[in-house]
């Protein structure tokens, strides 16, 4: 990473690896679309949730809440229970213990469809869209507009196509026509489509499961911009990630899970990247890994240098440039 490492947001004193211009744009976008003041009643709240799979404790006494116009970043390493928690929030698994509340009222989610009907929309990393279906079919799958009567009630293809085109235009994705397969869109565009779909169908809570994990930096920026946009529209956003650098610029609140339990809860400005990483249980491991890799790299350089001395006929021009022999030697393997 050669991007200038300058703090993006005043409270963020840690290095940030999105290119600075992209990151600044993301932040600027958030400010420009001034979010409505968050109210105090969470639109969705999980209170003291526990979930067990046989003898495995997937979640124990976990609480999490999100207010309208707020982004709550749910952070945690693989296996921390993030997926189980969002599946509980989106009606896939009923919790074994604890309550879900919407606008302060206890609710019981029967199915993913039930959650959707209440305005809780979840966008899954791999399952956000169906690549072999067209943009408009994807946009409306499960909520198809119909026209006609009785046995002739049919999927209103024209209306679906028109609305899908309008929505794509609004989120800045150029589609040739709405019958284009979603497989032709990039990873970021697919996630964005799913977010736009949730907004269109009146979601009040948007749960995003690792939407940026499989994406490159630019693609991730597209998705982050839409996270902020959804917040500006007054949606409560639960943004699941294990990438602290994606969470910091968009999060108003950070909830950290480790080993199925709450490991910390912070509001924006209280915490930096290093602290978050440490709480996720990755801090020490990462430091260890860095030390181990350094040792390995040193050893490799020596081996390679010895090999180079033994065979002095190696071409001079392609040799390591001054100052960064270790880097080159490793890259060239």
């Amino acid at each position: 990473m050669t991007a200038p490492r300058e703090p993006l947001i005043p409270h963020d004193t840690s290095p940030f690896t999105l290119p600075a211009d992209t990151a600044a744009r993301v932040a600027a976008y958030g400010r420009q679309a001034a979010a409505p003041a968050p109210t105090d009643v969470p639109v969705l709240e999980a209170r003291d949730i526990s979930k067990y799979f046989g003898r495995v404790i997937a979640l124990e006494h976990v609480s999490l809440s999100v207010r309208p116009g707020e982004v709550n970043c749910l952070l945690g390493d693989n296996g921390a229970g993030k997926s189980t928690l969002i599946k509980t929030l989106s009606g896939v698994h009923p919790p074994d213990d604890g309550t879900l509340l919407m606008d302060g009222e206890p609710i019981r989610l029967q199915s993913p469809r039930d959650a959707l009907d209440r305005g809780i929309a979840t966008v899954y990393q791999d399952l956000a869209v169906l690549p072999l279906m067209s943009v408009s079919r994807n946009f409306f799958v499960g909520s198809e507009p119909t026209t006609g009567w009785g046995p002739f009630r049919r999927f209103d293809v024209t209306r679906a196509g028109r609305i899908a085109s309008e929505q794509m235009l609004e989120i800045g994705i150029t589609v040739r026509d709405p019958s284009q397969l979603v497989g032709t869109l990039s990873g970021g565009e697919r996630q964005t489509l799913a977010i736009a779909r949730a907004e269109y169908f009146g979601a009040r809570v948007l749960i995003l499961d690792e939407p940026t994990s499989a994406l490159g930096v630019k693609e991730a920026a597209i998705v982050l911009r839409h996270v902020i946009r959804a917040r500006a529209k007054g949606l409560g956003v639960i943004f699941i990630t294990h990438n602290v650098q994606h969470a910091l610029p968009v999060g108003d609140r950070f909830t950290i899970l480790a080993h199925g339990r709450l490991a910390g809860e912070f509001v924006r400005g209280e915490v930096g990247q290093d602290e978050l990483l440490r709480l996720m249980g990755g801090g020490e491991e990462l430091a260890d890994l860095a030390r181990e890799l350094e040792t390995l790299m040193g050893a490799d350089v020596e081996t390679i240098e010895r090999a180079a001395e033994a065979a002095p006929t190696g071409s001079e021009g392609a040799g390591p440039a001054d100052g960064e022999p270790a880097q080159r030697a490793v890259d060239g393997r």
Binding site: L130, L132, R137, V141, R154, E170, G172, R225
Partner: protein, 349 residues
């Protein structure tokens, strides 16, 4: 949101209509059908391939194959297989014949009961697949054996035979005539176009309409693309799949009614191998074995290819033993074409 805020412009070229056609699932089947028809028109011209007798012949074969093919295509788009359709044909045919010959039921009631029987077996197939979460390939392979074996054992136990004749008066009853009626006869009785061609067209039109123009059709694509993703957006996956297993069984019953009424008897082995012919039809028509993509019109073209080839070999004066060789080669070619069409449609190079 404008381009200035940084969304990379979508780099898509405008497409020519031909290129668009070429990225449709039916494209390979259309080319294949034209090619096969052209080849056998040349080779079999002298033998009468293009005369009414020939045309009626391969349309009849295509109609029978195509009725099953259309239903199996819907199921395959939904990501499932039904290997029991062949046995279902035999079972439904025998069920009908026994109701008529042994139970002496009025034909209209026998036909209704035959469909009810097939639909319940289809529902059972679907229920088993959803309940056990086993691959439908295995579940329907099992029901294939059970159905065939049950048909043979029960028929022999009840009648002592493996072929049951349909009473002549029942054959003339309107309830069975709707499956066999002659539409038009040309060339002094050589070329008989029967009503089964209309049944085929009706099945294809309805299945296509359902697939492309109804919510249910959108759900078929969705559950085939990913049943979990479909479930998460609120698609009733179980209902969709069970209904499609009922559809394939219903198509098998229709085929059985046509063949049994036409031949005037039911044989316990009728329909053997039709489950694979149906899959070939679907694949020739551009349907993916992995689900989520395909076309009913394509399957109709696929059925036409099979019919045109089957009789084409005969009219060309080639030993018909070679039919299966050609069929295998066509299948391989179609699978390759499908893979490339899919790459084009999903934008990969």
């Amino acid at each position: 949101m404008t381009a200035a805020t940084g969304t990379a412009p979508s780099r898509l070229r405008a497409e020519s209509p031909l290129r668009r056609l070429a990225s449709r699932p039916e494209f390979g089947a259309l080319m294949g059908a034209l090619l096969v028809f052209l080849i056998f028109s040349l080779l079999g011209y002298g033998g009468g391939y293009l005369r009414w007798g020939g045309i009626a012949g391969y349309l009849q074969i295509a109609a029978q194959i195509g009725i099953i093919g259309a239903a199996v295509t819907l199921l395959m788009i939904a990501g499932e297989f039904d290997l029991s359709v062949g046995s279902m044909i035999g079972a439904a045919g025998m069920f009908l014949a026994m109701l008529l010959a042994v139970a002496n039921l009025p034909p209209w009631l026998a036909v209704i009961l035959t469909f009810a029987f097939a639909l319940s077996v289809g529902a059972l197939n679907g229920w088993l697949v959803m309940k056990t979460a086993l691959p439908s390939f295995i579940v329907t392979l099992a029901t294939q054996f059970i159905l065939r074996g049950g048909t043979i054992a029960l028929t022999r136990a009840l009648t002592g035979l493996t072929i049951v004749n349909v009473p002549a008066e029942a054959q003339q009853d309107p309830a069975l005539r709707i499956f066999t009626a002659n539409l038009v006869t040309l060339d002094n009785g050589v070329a008989r176009f029967n009503v089964e061609i209309l049944w085929w067209i009706a099945v294809v039109v309805i299945a296509s309409w359902v697939l492309y123009r109804t919510r249910f059709g959108n759900w078929i694509f969705a559950v085939g693309g990913s049943s979990q993703a479909a479930r998460y957006v609120g698609v009733p996956v179980r209902r969709v799949k069970i209904l499609l297993f009922m559809t394939t069984a219903g198509a098998a019953a229709l085929y059985a009614c046509i063949v049994t009424s036409l031949v005037g008897s039911a044989n316990v082995t009728t329909g053997t191998g039709q489950e694979f012919v149906a899959i070939v039809t679907a694949v020739l028509g551009g349907t993916l074995l992995t689900g989520g993509y395909g076309s009913v019109v394509g399957s109709a073209l696929g059925a036409f290819v099979l019919g045109a080839t089957n009789l084409g070999i005969f009219y060309a004066g080639i030993n018909t033993d070679w039919y299966l060789v050609v069929l295998g080669a066509l299948l391989l070619g179609a699978a390759l074409v499908n893979a490339s069409v899919l790459r084009r449609a999903s934008g990969a190079r």
